[in-house]
């Protein structure tokens, strides 16, 4: 009698161990797949807007220094001597007062190549020879309207649907390479020949937004 009870008890105990083992493995599997699904569902879709976008096809995108001149003082500006295109630039000089580099502060927009002059640069002993280079400038404001932070490397830009360009290759961020929720970025993209002038399109993940260039 005692032996039978003992045998029965052992069989029941082992059976319970088997059931427990099966249940443990099944629950572990369920938890693992459940956590994976929660992590997948946690990734929100990026959303953003192109608030405005405009392109100027007669902008001054570079200044060639054929002759830096001499005797210039710092603090002056380089302007266009003709037209009201709005070009402006600053410059740096070396020890003899020659202009060595130019930083464009306003690209302007011109129908023909303007002549450049230095204003407020003192009394030069030799006049600099500066030549404007015309090209295209695209200005755009874009806003991250979603809840996710977007890396600049994840943003692709297209002009007239062509020439895919990474946003990070033409945008110089002031601090980091991240586009935070609610942040508006000002794009100032200039080149001697941007490949389109009708539409700007941005693609981030599965989200694509287009905007006409006015």
């Amino acid at each position: 009698m005692g032996a039978s009870v003992g045998v029965g008890g052992l069989i029941i105990g082992i059976s319970m161990l088997v059931v427990f083992s099966m249940a443990y493995q099944a629950i572990s599997l369920q938890i693992e797949s459940g956590v994976d699904r929660i992590e997948e569902a946690d990734e929100p879709t990026p959303t953003f807007t192109i608030d405005d976008a405009v392109m100027f096809t007669g902008a001054i995108v570079d200044v060639t220094i054929a002759d830096g001149g001499a005797g210039y003082s710092s603090g002056g500006t380089i302007e266009a001597s003709s037209g009201n295109g709005g070009f402006s630039a600053t410059y740096t000089i070396n020890g003899t007062g020659a202009i060595t580099s130019v930083v464009i502060t306003s690209h302007g927009n011109y129908s023909s190549l303007p002549t450049l002059v230095v204003n407020g640069g003192g009394t030069p002993t030799s006049t600099a020879s500066l030549t404007a280079v015309r090209g295209n400038v695209l200005y755009a404001n874009i806003t991250n309207t979603g809840s996710t932070t977007i890396d600049h490397d994840d943003v692709w830009m297209f002009l007239d649907g062509q020439n895919a360009t990474r946003f990070s290759s033409v945008y110089n961020p002031p601090l980091t390479n991240l586009w935070f929720s609610g942040e508006t970025l000002f794009l100032n993209w200039f080149d001697t020949g941007l490949p389109g002038n009708e539409r700007l399109t941005l693609t981030v993940g599965k989200t694509t937004i287009g905007h006409g260039l006015w």
């Binding site: 994976d36 490397d153 007239d160």
Partner: protein, 155 residues
């Protein structure tokens, strides 16, 4: 005593067999579960301007961009693409920006050529793309996307 030992041996053997079989079953389920998870991480999307897809009417080419929106590399040379349900006879592809593997976040620029195309500017076409992932955990998975796009025809 003999009965007890016999019962123990039989029940122990049965338990070991059951646990082993159950473990095998769970392992198979886990393998499929992981494959399923990878499948969910393989995706592709049409990138670029769907309202201005470049169509060169001289060279008879259409240029399309596809973005790897998944978590795994895709095979840049193993894909199929249909334009209005027909496969163009010729295509060339370039991965941007690296030019090597089609990693997550990278673009695949595909230039399709078909000398029979007579599409006009502003015409809408249907694009279907299916790509294949690189091998992940011994498995490859496909990703598809389709879209209606408008051509920007130029000579």
């Amino acid at each position: 005593m003999v009965m007890l030992i016999t019962a123990l041996l039989i029940s122990g053997g049965a338990s070991a067999l059951l646990i082993s079989e159950w473990s095998d079953a769970v392992r198979v389920v886990q393998v499929n579960e992981r494959a399923s998870d990878v499948r969910g991480g393989v995706s592709v999307a049409l990138a670029g301007d769907p309202a201005m897809v470049a169509h060169n009417t001289t060279s008879k080419t259409i240029t399309l961009y596809f973005l790897n929106t998944g978590n795994y590399d895709l095979d840049a040379s193993n894909y199929e693409i249909l334009i209005d349900g027909a496969a163009p006879p010729s295509s060339t592809e370039t991965v941007l920006p690296s030019g090597t593997g089609w990693n997550p976040g990278d673009l695949l620029e595909i230039v399709l050529t078909d000398n029979t195309w007579t599409y006009a500017d502003g015409e809408d076409i249907s694009v279907f793309f299916v790509g294949v992932s690189e091998r992940v955990n011994g498995n490859t998975h496909s990703a598809t996307t389709n879209a209606e796009v408008r051509l920007n025809a130029f000579a």
